[in-house]
Chain length 118, copies 2
Amino acid sequence: MLNQTPALDLLFQALADPTRRAIVERLSRGPASVSDLAAPFAMSLPAIVQHLAVLETSGAVSSSKTGRVRTCRIEPNGLRAAEQWIATRRASWERRLDRLDAYLHKMKHLEARDGNKH
Amino acid sequence: MLNQTPALDLLFQALADPTRRAIVERLSRGPASVSDLAAPFAMSLPAIVQHLAVLETSGAVSSSKTGRVRTCRIEPNGLRAAEQWIATRRASWERRLDRLDAYLHKMKHLEARDGNKH
């Protein structure tokens, strides 16, 4: 559970590519067909389809087919899993820094008080 | 700026490996020496050093050397960049869903009102 292998492997791997991030960026503004997604890229349709397959396998994107058109959309739960994994570790580290800061502050205060006694 | 290539490539790539995530997990509880980090893994020290190099290059982790001991720590700004990239796209998608929901709600309301008129 802790590191959710291999789900997180696939999610972070999917997001490690600039074309795939650009696809997620585009889909964050609304669902789009595969050919709409391919249009802005100087890339073959099969290459885009391959990138979409990586995104779908990772759980960041889903798609459905109506007639001959496949429509892709964001899967917020997939993205949230990757986001929360990072957020939890960062928050844990920052809480640790806060505690350290509070401790140093207390030590300084005690030292100042003891200094006044002597 | 939008997709911050190659910084985000390196960050997501760094997090796509379970050993490197376990290292980040360990470091989120406090700084550690390279040998402390290596201890829980059934892996050679050079392999761990290699994983640490990937994490350092990505900006998720930093290290400093005192005498013969290299100490590693989390770089919260690095992690935050990856986290915020995801959060922004997810939030944008969710806002879109909210607007769509509000629109459908309004349409239903208008339809019900018009239905009452006739």
